[in-house]
Amino acid sequence: MTETVLDVKGLTVDIATPDGVVHAVRGIDLQVGRGEILGVVGESGCGKSTTIKGILGLLGPNSTVGADHIELAGHGDLLRTPAKKMRHVRGRRIGFVAQNPFGSLNPIYSIERQFHELQKAHGTKVSKKESREIALGMLAGVGIVNPARVLDGYAHQLSGGMAQRVVIALATTLSPQLLIADEPTTGLDVTVQAQIMDLISGLVRSEQRSVLLVTHDLGVIAQYADRVVVMLEGKVVEHGSVTDVMVDPQHEYTQKLISSVPKREELHDVIG
């Protein structure tokens, strides 16, 4: 790895619930290098989404985030960044793409207005007209054929794939060095998934951005990530290059995960 963009050391998240404290994340180390896609893989409840919310400072007041440090290159320790300043980190230094694009877009603002709100929120002093120009370019960049029509429309007029393209365009408008994507293609059709992942990896390769990609889909990891971290019950059980981990997994859980879709001839032998 060349230069580290995000360095997370000893991340813990404790969540207070009526039934006691849940240790959702139990001491995780992660590093994302420049121009690299780091995959985080695991099943529901392993703490992968909580990990990225912890990094982004998006957890609620019932959660306690701890770490030795969450160092973002060119900024400093996110853990010691006040909540008010975190609002400027998110969007400007770290772009975020969530699973459901319709949850990320405002249903009653035009798409154009959402690009302008982004500029206003980060105090860029970009005029409405300039914002439109920038947005047109961003939408064209994510493969939208008729950007003007999309800008004048609303989220509900878009297909899932188009909406996720708009979210990626929004998330990268202010040129953040790091993009965090939480299951960005889950729920999309397979052909659309391939297009969206090609788009994200294209951004990384052409502009030397970095991506923290959280997914449960081993195919997405194998085909797009450079390195991978496997999570189980709030801990990292295995990490390494995608080739090493996916081809020759060392940890029993990783082996089980990779062989989880049984081969055709095995199906009838497996006990339900």
């Binding site: 297909s159 059709d189 397979v190 052909t191 391939a194 195919g219 089980k256 879709v261 055709r264």
Partner: protein, 276 residues
């Protein structure tokens, strides 16, 4: 005669938007399902695959065309006859929790098909059969007293399978039965379905968008695109030599979990995303 025969099935829905174009969910779809086999229907959102799954069970009525089970045209049946026929054809839904009544106990949910189709059975016989069905899907008999919300997603889907098989059907539509489940749970449910199919000689119509899953479970695959079946072939043949351009696009979009098998996505000229 095949167990299930669909001939030239067509179904059009009015657009939800005012003045919008009608949606042709099925455009003259024909297929056969033989006893004991698994026919997978694969397609993306809007391809009509779920409409087809529902039409095959006459959960919705066709505009034209016919569906026959054992040579009997389902459209020609009276409501009472259709109800009796339903013991023979069941469905497992995509969302296990959404498809279980949250206020009914698991036992009551699984017993319901028997109460409808086998009303001659006494309550103690029904209890015995419910317990056997739950055990058949890998749940303990005392799961019967619990509520759906107390079970995990995988356990809920096992309940869905128990409910589908308790009336001893010969044909079951599996509508994306594993797509909302985690990978390791998915493998368990697929194995369970395969085992049950062998034991009971069931035929499955397996509706899915997931190439990886259908590759493992189906004998034959029908590929749907915009309301039409563009290609039907035995599973191995379809993967080895796909004939239709859309099938090739679907196959190229599959992401192998082996990083040594590099994928190269090939867009299809009729692709909605590209032309949008």
């Amino acid at each position: 005669m095949s167990l299930v025969e669909v001939d030239q099935a067509s179904k059009t829905f009015a657009s939800r938007q005012r003045g919008g174009d009608p949606v042709h969910a099925l455009r003259g779809v024909s297929l056969r399902v033989e006893a004991g086999e698994t026919l997978a229907v694969i397609g993306e959102s809007g391809s009509g695959k779920s409409t087809l799954g529902r039409a095959v069970l006459r959960l919705l009525d066709l505009d034209s065309g016919a569906v026959r089970l054992d040579g009997v045209d389902l459209a020609g049946l009276s409501p009472k006859e259709l109800r009796a026929k339903r013991a023979d054809m069941q469905i497992v839904f995509q969302e296990p929790y959404e498809s279980l009544n949250p206020r009914m106990s698991i036992g009551a949910i699984v017993a319901e098909p028997l109460q409808i189709h086998r009303s001659e059975l006494g309550s103690s016989e029904i209890r015995t059969r419910v317990k056997a069905a739950l055990e058949r899907v890998g749940l303990s008999g005392n799961t019967a007293s619990r509520l759906p919300g107390e079970l995990s997603g995988g356990q809920q889907q096992r309940v869905g399978v128990a409910r589908a098989i308790i009336s001893e059907p010969r044909f079951v539509v599996l509508d994306e039965p594993t797509s909302s489940l985690d990978l390791s749970i998915r493998a368990q449910i697929l194995a369970l379905l395969a085992e049950i199919q062998q034991d009971l000689g069931l035929a499955y119509l397996f509706v899915s968008h997931d190439m990886h899953t259908v590759e493992k479970v189906s004998d034959r695959i029908a590929v749907m695109y915009l309301g039409e079946i563009v290609e039907t072939a035995p599973t191995l043949d379809l993967f080895r030599s796909p004939q239709h351009a859309y099938t090739r696009t679907l196959l190229s979009a599959r992401l192998s979990a082996d990083p040594r098998e590099k994928h190269a996505y090939r867009a299809f000229e009729g692709d909605r995303e590209v032309t949008a």
